[in-house]
């Protein structure tokens, strides 16, 4: 029997829970940082709903309180968020059968954490006509947790001591999602090259290192894929959704 909408949605919620371990302290840290830096609490909280992208919100606050020209602030934030283009393109084939409201809603909810969990479900073997409900479940769980945790940071302060190192839970979750994926050699090459370039470019401005790293990794993946299977170009097409 195929899973129902409800089953998919709840599976999405469950898939997001481990990420919240790292996201909740991060949200509290953002909220506390924003008000401490001098931003009005209403605006600090609203930014979590309007922008909804953790790292870039830190950058935005830092530049706003330094009185940097508005255009520079906005452009810098957008550069930090540029990687979402890759997520948007990567998920596009799976959602193109959905109507506009669905796609516009899912785009608003698209984050690192929602992408990482949703793409694993889309690529997973278990068939379902309702994988977008999984996407919605996992994405909206992160959204709610982000609003609540930044609210806690803004209005109460941060409750989690740094010595707990909970910030490390987020990379650990990504390791859990990444490792099973890297069993194919082209994917492994993509990961290795992207990781190395990201380490080299860690201090490059505007988070540009991550974008260059992703590009280099994708190029490495294609190159190895073509070298391994030169006769089967059709296999390159991403399978469309259900």
């Amino acid at each position: 029997m195929l899973p129902s909408r409800r089953t998919e949605f709840l599976a999405g919620v469950r898939a997001q829970l481990p990420l919240l371990l790292g996201v909740a302290p991060f949200g509290m840290a953002y909220g506390a940082y924003a008000v401490k830096a001098g931003l009005p609490s209403g605006l600090s909280q609203a930014m979590s709903a309007i922008v909804f992208a953790g790292a870039s919100q830190f950058v935005g606050v830092r530049l706003i309180v330094r009185d940097v020209p508005a255009a520079v602030i906005v452009l810098t934030v957008l550069l930090v968020n540029l990687r979402h283009v890759l997520y948007s393109a990567s998920l596009a084939p799976y959602v193109e059968h959905l109507d506009r409201r669905w796609r516009w809603l899912l785009a608003y909810l698209l984050t690192d954490e929602a992408y990482a969990t949703a793409i694993v479900r889309y690529r997973g073997a278990a068939p379902s006509p309702y994988k977008h409900w999984f996407f919605l479940g996992t994405a909206i769980t992160l959204w709610a947790a982000w609003q609540v945790s930044t609210g806690a940071g803004v209005f109460v302060g941060t409750a989690v001591p740094n010595s707990w190192s909970l910030d490390f839970a987020l990379p650990l979750t990504f390791i859990a999602l990444l490792v099973p994926m890297a069993s194919e050699r082209p994917a492994l090459a993509a990961a290795a090259v992207a990781g190395l370039v990201a380490v080299v470019g860690f201090r490059w401005p505007y988070g540009i290192g991550l974008i260059v790293a992703a590009g280099a990794g994708m190029a490495a993946g294609i190159a190895l894929d073509r070298a391994l299977s030169p006769s089967a170009p059709a296999a390159a097409d991403v399978e469309a959704g259900p």
Binding site: S90, A92, P171, I175, M181, G195, A213
Partner: protein
């Protein structure tokens, strides 16, 4: 008022980036190489997020690839657990467990 406008522009631009291919461009309109490349977005981006987070540590985010890097050791254990158990909670548990143990012992 000015601050609200800045935040609204940040949000609108970010939403535009997220919408871009997902809702505005038809996937099949992308060139073949781009579609091929998209299969590698997930491993590439995830590793590009993870590796710096593991190798640049401490309050100053200093590079450390040596055996004294507690996060590196924890991440290696987590990767081994992820490989054998293929379970997210176990991976986090193992990684955080090793990290706390190392922090406590040092």
């Amino acid at each position: 008022m000015r601050l609200w406008l800045i935040v609204l522009a940040m949000g609108a631009g970010t939403y535009g980036i997220r919408l871009s291919v997902l809702a505005l461009v038809h996937h099949s309109a992308l060139p073949r190489t781009a579609r091929e490349a998209l299969r590698f977005v997930t491993p590439a981006v995830l590793c590009a997020i993870v590796l710096p987070a593991v190798l640049y540590t401490g309050p100053a985010a200093a590079f450390d690839a040596g055996p004294g890097n507690q996060r590196l050791l924890s991440a290696i254990v987590a990767a081994l657990v992820a490989w054998s158990a293929k379970n997210v909670w176990l991976t986090i548990g193992a990684g955080m467990g090793v990290l706390w143990l190392l922090q406590w012992a040092s």
